[in-house]
């Protein structure tokens, strides 16, 4: 008898919670796939395709579908860490197969060598190169993501990836050397009266 009561009670509970869950999933359903959006928000949007996908969004979708989250060289460790935190996965070292983490770079077109073939314009995933056929092209530095995709198609190899230079605004102090270290440096100065 008691056993019967217990079973009935459990069944009732199961039914109630099941109904509740079902209701919640209907009621609280979110449009789209927010995980993909969240992943996409973390990826650096370089659109370089080094991960093996045609852009960051497709890779975000692939990660959401279960692909490893360590294939994005431009994002580097930082991105992997953030993705690990978001997805509750283990931190993985960067998959070297897809390239190494590097300093930030932007494309620079040596303008007197440019023949105006428009090949780079077609290659640029974010429309950061301007120019017309037979006219020299130039890169909008602020929009260039440093994806490298324009370098290969250039028939005269006039595109260089140059490291982004530090400016007075982007400069900041380095992290101090840590326990046991002194932050001081000495610099020789000659031009003092």
């Amino acid at each position: 008898m008691t056993i019967l009561t217990a079973i009935i009670a459990l069944l009732a509970l199961a039914a109630v919670f099941g109904a509740l869950l079902g209701y919640a999933s209907e009621k609280l359903k979110v449009e789209g796939d927010p995980v993909v959006d969240q992943i996409d928000a973390i990826l650096p949007q370089t659109q370089c395709g080094q991960c093996g996908h045609p852009g960051c969004r497709p890779y975000a979708e692939a990660i959401a579908a279960g692909e490893e989250h360590n294939k994005c060289p431009p994002g580097g460790e930082q991105t992997i860490q953030e993705l690990s935190d978001l997805l509750g996965r283990d931190f993985l070292p960067l998959d070297e197969e897809h390239g190494e983490e590097d300093v930030k770079r932007v494309a620079y077109i040596r303008e007197d060598e440019c023949i105006g073939c428009t090949k780079c314009i077609q290659a640029c995933p974010v429309d950061a190169i301007i120019g017309a056929a037979q006219k020299m092209h130039t890169v909008i530095e602020d929009e260039c993501t440093g994806c490298d995709l324009c370098v290969e198609p250039c028939p005269v190899d006039c595109i260089d990836m140059v490291p982004v230079e530090e400016t007075l605004e982007s400069w900041h102090r380095e992290r101090p050397p840590g326990v046991g270290g002194r932050p001081e440096t000495y610099i020789p100065v000659e031009n003092l009266a």
Partner: protein, 338 residues
């Protein structure tokens, strides 16, 4: 010629961590003296031995970790660890007991966590707890106050050539715990009736209180933890004592018995493993006090500073999280998970 480049600020207050720790060492002076006066040479020998072992083990571990030994020894923190553990051990302890405790404290509780500043637990108390759990008999064998062994007897005890049984006597806390509830027996035990509290121990605690006040005056520690600690111990003691003064000891007995003052001013105030915001420290101290009272009154151990401190070490990060001060320009403190 050359210019020096460096970050602001370009001027700094005098003093360093080593000086800070040395103040703590000096402040234990009165307590150590009184312990030696009441319980004989044992404590002094313990302390010296503990400090020697601590420094040696630290140097060894630093060498193994490839660190600059002199630089890291200069913070004196390991001296304090050894000192505090030495002060807590019974004066009858043999050398190996101290060695095991100190080595465990320095190697496991400190360096395995990354060294000074990274250890979540108070190393001295970790060592103490290990010994208490592993060698309960040796760790609870105290000498009856003023029944002092001679120097050569102390040395023999230290070398393990004499048995502590010949000297040992129960501490006031122990005695009270055994006879709690029996008014007659309690009245009959001399050791429970010193001038302020338990015999002998009252002076030990008074001496540590003195040292603690020195630390407060030198602003080496601030008042939050000791105040919380003492209040947390005294208030429940007072309340229960008023209800039933045979079953529960009076607050003064608690305040001046066992390791109370040493705990309140020297052990619980170890900044590394304590809470860091002022409010957090107050709560941290108070909870230690309460825990000590609970364990002393209902637990299986006569004294409880080590366990209470370790338990609260665990809670310190959480306390910090929930007691962050309100930052300038913010309406309310940013607390909680976020």
């Amino acid at each position: 010629m050359s210019l020096i480049l460096g970050p602001a600020p370009h001027t700094m207050q005098q003093g360093d961590t080593g000086a800070f720790m040395r103040q703590v060492v000096y402040a234990t002076g009165p307590g150590l003296a009184v312990l030696t006066w009441i319980f004989g040479w044992g404590t002094l020998i313990n302390v010296l031995w503990a400090v020697i072992v601590a420094v040696a083990v630290e140097a060894l571990v630093l060498t193994m970790r490839g660190r600059d030994v002199r630089f890291f020894l200069s913070d004196w923190s390991v001296v304090v660890t050894g000192l505090l553990l030495g002060l807590s051990l019974p004066p009858t302890s043999p050398w190996w007991l101290t060695l095991v405790g100190v080595a465990f404290a320095v190697i496991v509780a400190k360096h395995l966590y990354g060294g000074l500043g990274m250890n979540p637990f108070n190393p001295a108390m970790v060592g103490y707890a290990l010994l208490l759990v592993s060698f309960p008999v040796a760790m609870t064998a105290w000498i009856a106050p003023f029944d002092v062994p001679t120097f050569s007897e102390s040395v023999a005890l230290f070398l393990g050539q004499a048995s502590p049984d010949a000297f040992s006597g129960a501490t006031p806390l122990d005695t009270f715990r055994t006879w709690a509830g029996d008014a007659q027996a309690l009245a009959g035990h001399d050791i429970l009736h010193g001038r302020i509290a338990g015999r002998g121990w009252e002076w030990v605690n008074a001496a540590f209180l003195l040292g603690g006040l020195y630390l407060l005056a030198r602003r080496i520690i601030n008042w939050h933890i000791p105040a919380g600690f003492l209040a947390g111990l005294a208030l429940p003691a007072l309340a229960f004592w008023l209800v039933d003064d045979v079953r529960y000891a009076d607050p003064l007995f608690h305040l001046f018995g066992g390791g109370t003052m040493l705990g309140a001013f020297f052990i619980a105030t170890d900044p590394v493993s304590a809470a860091t915001s002022n409010q957090g420290r107050l709560i941290y101290g108070a909870l230690i006090g309460v825990l000590i009272w609970v364990i002393r009154s209902f637990g299986g151990y006569p004294d409880a500073v080590a366990f209470a401190v370790l338990l609260m070490n665990l809670a310190a990060p959480t306390l910090d999280y929930y007691t962050r001060p309100r930052t300038y320009g913010h309406d309310k403190p940013d607390r909680g998970i976020g």
